[in-house]
Symmetry: C2
Subunit: 338 residues, 2 copies
């Protein structure tokens, strides 16, 4: 077995890369949410001075990258990073490719739907630990209106959303990983398998993704021989209220008790009582702003020492849905430790 | 500088991974092309027994994976590979995600448009050389009709194509990389930057991608301190006739003479005289079937010993085009040596 491999799906990083800086930017609704004060930058409207929602999404990713580079004290044009790893929800991940253009550094485009944050941290951590890079910039984001009109209906249509639907977060996050510096370390990665439990309703993504999240969490704990309570916090990407409840049930069936130290970014990002987001938040930006804006700051404040970040993605498209396919899903776990 | 890094964009693999098996499958038009006899499997029609072009594209990728695993003598269900790395041109890379589902191994989705083959080989080679995996399965592919209706017009519309347009290849390729075994080795990787030279016509992709190809080739040669004639063959992904001619001119401006040892998969894949493909082939499947079906076999036959594979990608979407954006492009170089 490859020397850094643990069990079936996990790798252990020999020289755990550090997260030396991060940036988070968020839209107006997210700014009014319970974590609004935590984000590095918020925008007063959804257009962000651009002519389209898609261009606005791109500007958010670029702003998040600038903030992460600034916080990591990385200057230069091009910035002194060896790779830019990014992905998003737009067809052909154009928010990422158009953000890579002004950066001018080697680019690897990723697609993992809302699991992209975990995917980019996984690939980035292996590139640094493996000796291929000193610094890697990872980014992802999403825009509510750009996603709605691409995946579902044009927002002008005003369609009634189902009660278990989620609200795509408008926001972006970026992180700089490095071989040297200071910050929490990425110690283990558990890369997910694609799972299909028969959900075919594109509004029911929390239910679709919950089995993937639990499969990856259970595999991670088995591969690393850790118990749930090893972690101060296990956080899933964007299962929201429906998916989180299901995840707790599915975990219980495997004799895993996910208690108060288990949370979900889709639940944390909005205030369900004050904000009409149905089941909660979703989108690449959801785990990105909660992680970069809040969780990493909690780690810096000493409130969290051991975090298992489990980003979750629904790997469908409107075409596969219209052609009668189910929604395959995936989850990637990243252990971040002070 | 990270210990495996050479120059600004290149890495040198310390224990160069081997390509221990590959598989290539191709559509009916490709089967009638000059390399038709080289492909492992060809299909008599474009539907491949499926109800849609998109489902047909997926079956091709799955068939290519089965062939690559068979040729690499890897059995088991799930197969004994540590990662599946794949990407394609479909929105949300659904050919790859739906191919990952039956495989049941850890999956990292990639998006690099037609540069995906080089991207997947790059990430795969680093995962093996870095000690994270013993075997990695890489795959990509494209389907002419699925691409046409997603990127341009429904094919039933019968629109006149411009003479410099390219013909998206129907086909797929897969490779197994491994730490041990026999086969040619991946020795160096040069990961591209995103480049925009002002081309905005989505039919003129060869011209859009040529500057990225030459930028990556020139950087690779400089980083590795190699001359053009170090390689028996330098092959670009899918510039086709228009882009290849431009690439030779752009190289000359940098004092690089790309002579007879420079070829392009988009030119090699079809017979321009007998087949009405305008400028030539394109699509993720183009470099995939030429590499897996032909070039690796030429290496096994001793006809090529040192190959620089430079896959090229146009990173646009119909949305970015319709919103008035140029076409950003990228190229990734992979040195494969016997």
């Amino acid at each position: 077995m490859a020397r850094k491999r643990l069990g079936v799906q996990t790798v252990r990083l020999e020289s755990p890369p550090l997260i030396i800086g991060s940036g988070s930017v968020a839209g107006p609704m997210e700014a009014k949410g319970p974590l609004g004060h935590e984000y590095d930058q918020t925008y007063p409207d959804l257009m962000i001075g651009q002519k389209s929602f898609e261009k606005a999404e791109r500007v958010m990713m670029q702003d998040a990258c600038k903030l992460a580079l600034k916080h990591a004290r990385i200057a230069g044009n091009p910035p002194e990073v060896d790779y830019f790893l990014a992905g998003d929800l737009m067809n052909q991940i154009t928010s990422s490719t158009f953000s890579a253009l002004p950066l001018g550094v080697p680019f690897l485009g990723l697609y993992g739907a809302c699991s992209t944050l975990g995917e980019s941290l996984s690939v980035g951590a292996m590139l640094i630990d493996g000796g291929y890079a000193d610094r890697v910039l990872c980014a992802t984001g999403s825009h509510n209106k750009a996603s709605e009109r691409q995946y579902r209906y044009p927002t002008e249509y005003g369609g009634q959303r189902k009660p278990y639907a989620q609200w795509t977060v408008t926001g972006a996050g970026a992180l700089v990983l490095a071989a040297e510096g200071s910050g929490p370390r990425i110690t283990h990665l558990t890369t997910g398998k694609v799972i299909d439990m028969g959900i075919s309703d594109p509004f029911d993504q929390g239910a679709a993704m919950a089995p993937a999240a639990i499969d990856t969490i259970a595999t991670h704990l088995k591969d690393t021989e850790r118990a749930v309570d090893y972690y101060d916090l296990i956080v899933t990407g964007d299962l929201a209220r429906v998916g989180q409840k299901l995840a707790i049930q599915l975990a219980a069936e495997q004799n895993l008790t996910l208690g108060p130290q288990y949370k979900d970014c889709g639940v944390l990002v909005f205030d369900n009582k004050r904000q009409d987001v149905h089941a909660g938040g979703s989108g690449c930006g959801c785990s990105a702003i909660v992680t970069c804006g809040h969780l990493l700051k909690e780690m810096a404040r000493g409130q969290i020492r051991k975090l298992l970040l489990v980003t979750t993605g629904a790997l469908f498209s409107p075409t596969t849905f219209q052609q009668g396919e189910n929604i395959p899903t995936i989850a990637h776990a990243v252990a971040i430790e002070v």
